[in-house]
Symmetry: C2
Subunit: 252 residues, 2 copies
């Protein structure tokens, strides 16, 4: 696992990509700035536009820049510090929102969808639903300042949601478990399944990342004592912005 070292890549467009990458790293272009246009860069590097376009495609795949058709190529703002999601959550009060405010970031959650509907097949299977049972679906988009940092979708079997008096969960996601507990649905354990993949086009658009930037796909099941699944949540995070931290005791 040696690092590649300096080792000039032969391909001109790769050299251009490296050069621009370093220029951005040096601060020669700041986040939000536009790069020179492709014809301009072609002049600067004495190269044709096709090759320049390929060079920029590399940087876009890396998430360093973002091209906007008809407008220009803009340097992306990559936050120095990653968001950390702790499991189990830090003891006592301080919610994730509080932590962010303490770090000088304004969190915001935006309800994208809230309805009762048939669940996607993958969800129905995991929830062990009776045939044709519907679920309460709520989807959220979570922002840090103006930047989307998470897509979240929650699925609750209608039988459970009804008897727990969860009509339209336009409350914040964290309040749901409290409401469930009040009605006798006690979550006894959680299971999370973490995967890593390329985003769908829709996710890339929602999270404002390029399709080359991977996402973390975290499926979380809240189970009660009897092993029933009370809720299933699918969280999608831009990989470059997050760190998932799990902690557990050794042995039993």
């Amino acid at each position: 696992m040696r690092t590649a070292g300096i080792e000039a890549p032969t391909a001109r467009y790769r050299q251009v990509a490296n050069d621009l990458r370093e220029a951005i790293a040096r601060g020669q272009f700041s986040p939000g700035d536009a790069l020179p246009s492709q014809p301009e860069l072609a002049g600067i590097y004495r190269l044709n536009q096709t090759s320049i376009s390929r060079a920029i495609a590399i940087l876009a795949a890396e998430g360093l820049v973002r091209t906007e058709h008809g407008r220009g190529t803009y340097v992306q703002d990559i936050p120095a510090a990653k968001h950390t999601r702790r499991i189990p959550p830090p003891a006592s009060g301080s919610s994730f929102a509080d932590e962010m405010r303490n770090a000088g970031i304004e969190p915001r959650t935006e309800l994208v969808q809230a309805e009762t509907a048939d669940p996607p097949a993958a969800v129905a299977q995991r929830l062990h639903l009776r045939a044709a049972e519907q679920v309460l679906i709520s989807k959220w988009l979570i922002f840090a300042d103006a930047r989307p940092i998470q897509v979240s979708a929650s699925y609750i079997p209608l039988s459970i949601a009804r008897s727990a008096d969860l009509a339209l969960p336009d409350t914040e996601p964290t309040a749901i478990h409290q409401q469930l507990a009040k009605n006798g649905y006690h979550v006894s354990r959680f299971v999370e399944e973490v995967e890593c993949r390329r985003p769908t086009v829709d996710e890339a658009a929602l999270l404002r990342i390029s399709e080359g930037q991977p996402v973390l796909d975290v499926v979380r099941l809240a189970l009660d004592q009897a092993g029933r699944t009370l809720e299933m949540t699918i969280n999608v995070f831009p990989g470059q912005m997050w760190l998932l931290r799990y902690e557990w005791p050794a042995d039993g």
Copy 2:
């Protein structure tokens, strides 16, 4: 988060990519098969080689095919079932290797490196090392049948390794904690930090994946009662092949 639907993409090279993707999905090309050469495809689709090359680059980024310079383009073998890594590990005996054998897969671990050396800066910081303290480094490459599925690097402060009589850890990684425990170094808790990123060129080569395929980067710390870090392990998994499963009780 609607799906894109049919919606023909205007770009010809994207159409070709879609067409080839479906052909592979249909089984028209099987894993290991070579695709027709680029000039051939150019003839078939009445396109020039440049555009064909772009189409194939898309499939390569998706991990569906693998190009080998001077040889050809080969369909990748994507295992239907993902490997699952369970935390905490399933109770009683059955190791991960046993599980794989039961699934008809032959596991193999290959020692890539084993030496005492200065740790990388990032490792030294996390291990809270005294200045200039060296570490015992061992790196492994783990295979399922003939396919690499994990890169693993373990770092143990030399002061701990020496007194625990861990000279050259060419033993399997799991044996290390037992050896540490025998010598009074009891692991009391674990911390794992999961990230998701694009692979380095070296990782892509070792794991035989394309640079567009994301990897899971899992840093694991084994801590003793006093909060000392006994061992730090960095695991890198090809994202498409793995699922990390964490389970923990609710509340206290």
